[in-house]
């Protein structure tokens, strides 16, 4: 019975660490087409990175778990003895350096992407976002106003920067499609920017717990053509 359990664990493990990165890669490729491409790259790098580390450890453990089962009742283990300082330090420092190298590699990748994510392009269209329990209000440069039913309407092909604050509690504005979110709170102003390259509709929603109707605080980002946008914003003025 125990053998079967182990076998099952082995199969699950191999599927998870072997297939997941590959499958997920397709999934993310489909989802990213614009400035979030860099995010995609980092994400896939990372999946390989953790997939390989996890795979090595997992395969080793599963192999050990099978190979070193007890054969005789009075048998004891024959593991390595760490008697010399060299051995202790070697087995501590060498892996540490490998992990540290990987940490710095990932930090560098993440940092680069972070700078892109936080540097707002000069020509971005500015929308003022106010969060309240439980809805959003959007105010455009020309005075047009919108809310979560109407949606966050933006023209295609121009970066948008959201200047965000809250009237009451902490909320968080999240657009899964553009891989961004940031909290809104009273007394501070926060930013977010994204690049709606192509027309389409995407969900935005609140991701910081804010009370009863937290899960109702959602709507759609509507990316439309410039003409449609101009017409819309004229209509919604004031």
């Amino acid at each position: 019975m125990i053998n079967r359990v182990l076998l099952l664990a082995a199969i699950v493990g191999i599927i998870v660490f072997g297939v997941l990165p590959v499958g997920a890669e397709d999934e993310v490729k489909r989802a990213f087409t614009d400035h979030t491409e860099e995010f995609h790259k980092v994400w896939v790098h990372l999946l390989w990175d953790i997939g390989i580390i996890g795979g090595i450890f997992l395969i080793l453990s599963i192999y050990f778990m099978f190979a070193y089962r007890r054969k005789r009742d009075d048998q004891i283990g024959n593991g390595p003895k760490f008697t010399t300082m060299g051995m202790i330090l070697g087995w501590a420092l060498i892996p540490s350096f490998i992990f540290m190298a990987d940490d710095f590699y990932l930090s560098a990748q993440g940092w680069k992407l972070w700078i892109d994510q936080r540097t707002v392009p000069e020509n971005a269209m500015e929308v003022e976002v106010t969060g309240q329990m439980w809805g959003w209000e959007f105010e455009y440069e020309n005075g047009a106003i919108s809310d979560n039913d109407e949606g966050l309407v933006v023209p295609e092909g121009r970066p948008v920067v959201l200047r965000m604050k809250s009237d009451d509690v902490v909320h968080s504005f999240f657009i899964p499609r553009y891989r961004i979110k940031e909290d809104l709170m009273p007394g501070r102003v926060t930013y977010l920017w994204f690049y709606p390259k192509d027309k389409g509709e995407h969900v935005f929603t609140c991701t910081e717990f804010c009370g009863t109707n937290h899960s109702e605080m959602w709507g759609k980002v509507k990316v439309v053509s410039q003409e449609e946008f101009d017409e819309w914003s004229e209509k919604n003025k004031g």
């Binding site: 359990v5 995010f39 940490d103 891989r179 909290d183 009273p186 937290h214």
Partner: protein, 530 residues
């Protein structure tokens, strides 16, 4: 009999009281988790008459109870109390009455937490309790949250002082630091963290309380308070708190893996001084990874990304020791060992999915989604829980003098392992696609419904296995066969030098250990009695 248990100062009984309390909390919070999962199977209202407010209260209770009343007391209350004095060869802890007092505090905390089921305005502020919601806007009773935290916090500070003194002053004659059981080291690390950081949490929730009920404005921005400060203070404690959970969990795994493969711990010194103490030292300056999208300055977030990633070094050393201990071992599988070895998989999944969450730029997308939820359930909700279960099974013969049913145990384990994987893998997936956590409803993502259903099916499987486990423990404790003195062939003092269950005072005579002895060496050795 009841009085004897209530007023006991014996560390073993105190430990059992902790066990009963924390398992009770686990059971209630687990049933609540089932309700939550059931509610999520469909879009909109799924359980008739259950609105978002009920859901939010359940979620508050589930989170707060699982962490504050199950994992922390289960690992640093039950296991530490039961095992540490036995492992170091002491008659009891240093301050037995203080110990009894801390278990009372813990029980009061559980009563207060449970009372929130009957009061008209149960707290709904989640276990994190962020202001201004918790301090100004919540219709719920924030005080219940604050008092629960106070009681449990005070209880663990007392526990910390007690156990640090016990290990420092009451080791068996001749026992050197490098001869300590690995579990004892992890408990030391966990209690050092508790001693330093719990006061910070206690003072910040106190300020929350005065804000809500006495009209102060510590966290109200209009009057000069700082909204973000509470979040910082909360995580300044609560991140180290996850190591309070992780370290003893790894300690239990290490004990069992070493014992059941009859192998010394792989690079014991590196795991203790690099792993355990590395985590304690580095763990205090990474808290901002919970605040990557909270509007803090960009450079703070980047700085803490680097420190957070660096934590992988001590954790890596611990994992190397865990896996390495299997190498050339003589492995025998018991239910406890199955839980411990499957934990290798869980700690890898939970730990490695923490790496994208450490990177600010990826967390900009992943924060506050089901991805985070699945991550912390793997490392904490499952890995640490499995460690508690492994501990219960492994030391069951010690605590009761009887054997549990291995067959039921293994069936329970299989269901449990399959169930948790079924529950949480789909949540990684929809989390990556954007499903936010703490959502009563997900009308914006109708396509996630099948995954939610799958998770609920998994949760039901888990519930069945839990029922089996509880049944196994209760029935075996009363009717189980008599257990042999040292069923696992351990070399640790609690197995070699005292009966099962140990009598008052633990050891007939205080054991004395020679410099050749080590709890994780499996050669026949001469052990002297005083």
């Amino acid at each position: 009999m009841i009085k004897e248990w209530l007023f006991t100062t014996d560390h073993k009984r105190v430990g059992i009281l902790y066990l009963v309390g924390s398992l009770a909390a686990f059971a209630v919070a687990g049933i609540v988790a089932l309700l939550i999962r059931w509610e999520l199977t469909g879009i909109g209202e799924t359980i008739g008459g259950v609105g978002p407010d009920d859901y939010n209260f359940w979620l508050y209770f589930h989170g707060a109870a699982m962490i504050l009343a199950f994992l922390i007391p289960g690992l640093t209350g039950f296991l530490a109390n039961y095992l540490v004095p036995l492992m170091i060869g002491a008659h009891d802890v240093a301050f037995p009455r203080v110990n009894a007092f801390s278990v009372w505090l813990f029980w009061f905390a559980i009563v207060i937490a449970l009372l929130s089921f009957v009061i008209p305005d149960p707290p709904d502020i989640m276990w994190t309790g962020y202001p201004p919601y918790s301090s100004e806007f919540s219709p719920g009773n924030t005080a219940f949250y604050v008092f629960t935290v106070h009681l449990i916090g005070f209880s663990s500070i007392l526990g910390a002082v007690n156990f640090l003194c016990t290990v420092i002053y009451m080791r068996a004659p001749g026992m050197k630091w490098n001869q300590l059981n690995f579990f004892v080291w992890t408990i030391l690390g966990a209690f050092v963290i508790q001693l330093i950081f719990v006061p910070v949490l206690a003072s910040s929730v106190t300020l929350l309380l005065t804000d809500k009920y006495f009209g102060t404005a510590f966290f109200v921005p209009a009057n000069g308070g700082d909204v973000l400060l509470y979040q910082n203070l909360f995580w300044f404690y609560s991140h180290p708190a996850v190591y309070v959970i992780l370290l003893p969990a790894v300690g239990v795994m290490m004990e069992i893996i070493s014992n059941m493969s009859k192998n010394p711990i792989f690079n014991y010194k590196a795991a203790v001084y690099g792993g355990v103490w590395g985590v304690v030292v580095l763990g205090s300056d990474v808290w901002v990874h919970h605040l990557y999208t909270s509007g803090l300055a960009d450079w703070i977030r980047i700085g803490m990304m680097v420190t957070t990633l660096i934590i992988s070094i001590p954790i890596g050393l611990l994992i190397i020791s865990l896996v390495g201990t299997l190498f050339r071992g003589s492995i025998k599988y018991s239910t406890g060992m199955l839980y411990a070895t499957s934990n290798l998989f869980l700690i890898l999944v939970g730990g490695l999915t923490g790496i994208p969450l450490a990177m600010t730029s990826l967390t900009l997308h992943l924060a506050e989604t089901y991805f985070v939820m699945a991550h912390f359930h793997f490392i904490m909700g499952i890995m640490a829980t499995f460690a508690v279960f492994a501990g219960i099974y492994h030391w069951f013969p010690k605590m009761t003098g009887r054997m549990y049913s291995e067959k039921l145990g293994v069936i329970g384990f299989v269901l449990n392992f399959v169930g948790v994987n079924l529950t949480f893998w789909p949540l990684f997936y929809i989390g990556f696609l954007g499903m936010p956590r703490r959502y009563y409803d997900y009308a914006m993502f109708p396509e996630f419904e099948p995954f939610q259903v799958m998770a609920t099916v998994g949760a039901i499987v888990v519930a069945v296995s839990m029922a089996l486990n509880f049944y196994n423990w209760i029935v075996s404790a009363i009717f189980g066969e008599k257990a042999p003195e040292n069923p696992w062939g351990s070399n640790s003092l609690e197995w070699t030098h005292c009966q099962s269950p140990p009598g008052p005072g633990n050891f007939p005579k205080l054991p004395k250990v020679s410099s050749k002895w080590h709890p994780h060496e499996y050669k026949p050795q001469v052990i002297e009695w005083v």
